[in-house]
Amino acid sequence: MMMNNKIKNAFDKVRAEDELKRNTKDFLSARAARTVSLRRFQRTAVAFACLALVMLSFGGWRFYMTPVSAVSIDVNPSIELGVNRFDRVVAVEGYNDEGIDLAESVNLKNLNYSDAIETLFASETMQSYVAEDGLVSITVIGTDERKSEEMISRIRSCSYAGSPDVECHKGNRTEVKAAHEAGMSFGKYRAFLEIKDFDPEITINDVQELTMRQMRDRINEHSGESNKHSDSKGAGGHSGNIHHGGNEGNPDGRQNHGGN
């Protein structure tokens, strides 16, 4: 017999044992079932992962969008910048008509708060108010004392904030809340409280339309009355801008300053 036939015949007799086939089929069927359940598990896991991702993104977005500090800027337009944990402006709110117009005219969102202040002061609208009425009050409400200090020092280093007509203050949350309830920005509310110290009858409506310059002048005026000739801060330098006017309905002779 030829060798190739011998080899062919011999190998022909090699057959897979029935047991081997059976075991293999059993193994494969068990494995397939496991693969199916694994795939089902994977699908569920992927769905959960997607959900978690969506929730995380939403959470992250909320985290980013939540203001933790605020910078209140008052000339006559009163505008307040909500600043998030990353020092980015996430909210801009105007507290009077001029403030609302100003907030709409300049895009300050997502800027670092010091850049936002630079941008705001560089804007034409803001420039016109500053030129008209001079005094700018910037109030910072930080998460804590240290943060407020840091924010004030950064704001002071801005080119516009270096001017003597810019006042920087720190505020606290309780006062900010009261200011917002009164419908005022914090800087203005703070000035209102100062005036109220001298003139307890004054109401929020009386000061609503006043510029910061006018309010500062009133404070200086009152402090000048109570402490004659005392050299209160900034009193002399800005007196030339005061617009006095008679106020018949005001028994204590309080000056009614001309509004814009």
Binding site: N9, A10, L28
Partner: protein, 160 residues
């Protein structure tokens, strides 16, 4: 993933071929069982579309050869046993068949595989070269040497 009926069909159709390839490469039954599981699992998970039965058969042979070689390289594979255990017991197997198989299986692995693929499966030198990823001339050299070796053991005529 292929269906259970597809897999069962493949097991029935190719189990004998895979068993023969395992006989050529492996030295014990436990390893053969491992290879069966590995090869058919690959088949289940594979998305290859076979153009013909020959194509499918060649795929099984190639995957089995590769799986056997991988297993032989593995550190944890089982110890080798005597040839008696390698050759599956069968009622049809005569003493002569057993002798031939033992002669083939006693050859070094590189000769065994070409002898099996050429004489039993009927693949040409070119096809074997492609399957084993070797040079065609190398395959012819191996075939000639293997033939010489077998002739010495088995005697008999040349095939060509």
């Amino acid at each position: 993933m292929r269906s259970e009926s597809e897999v069962n069909r493949a097991v029935d159709l190719y189990a004998d071929t895979i068993r023969r390839v395992c006989t050529v490469y492996l030295k014990n039954y436990a390893d053969t069982e491992d290879i069966f599981q590995t090869v058919f699992l690959k088949y289940i998970l594979s998305s290859v579309v076979f153009e013909s039965d020959e194509h499918e058969k060649a795929w099984f042979i190639r995957v089995t050869i590769n799986s056997c070689k991988d297993l032989l390289k593995s550190f944890f594979r089982k110890n080798t046993v005597s040839l008696d255990e390698v050759i599956p017991p069968s009622e049809e197997m005569t003493e002569e068949h057993r002798e031939v198989l033992e002669a083939v299986l006693s050859l070094p692995a590189k000769y065994r595989e070409v002898i099996y693929l050429h004489y039993y499966e009927g693949y040409s030198g070119v096809e074997i070269a492609e399957m084993l990823n070797k040079n065609v001339n190398t395959i012819y050299t191996l075939l000639n040497r293997a033939k010489e070796m077998l002739k010495k053991v088995l005697g008999g005529d040349d095939d060509e």
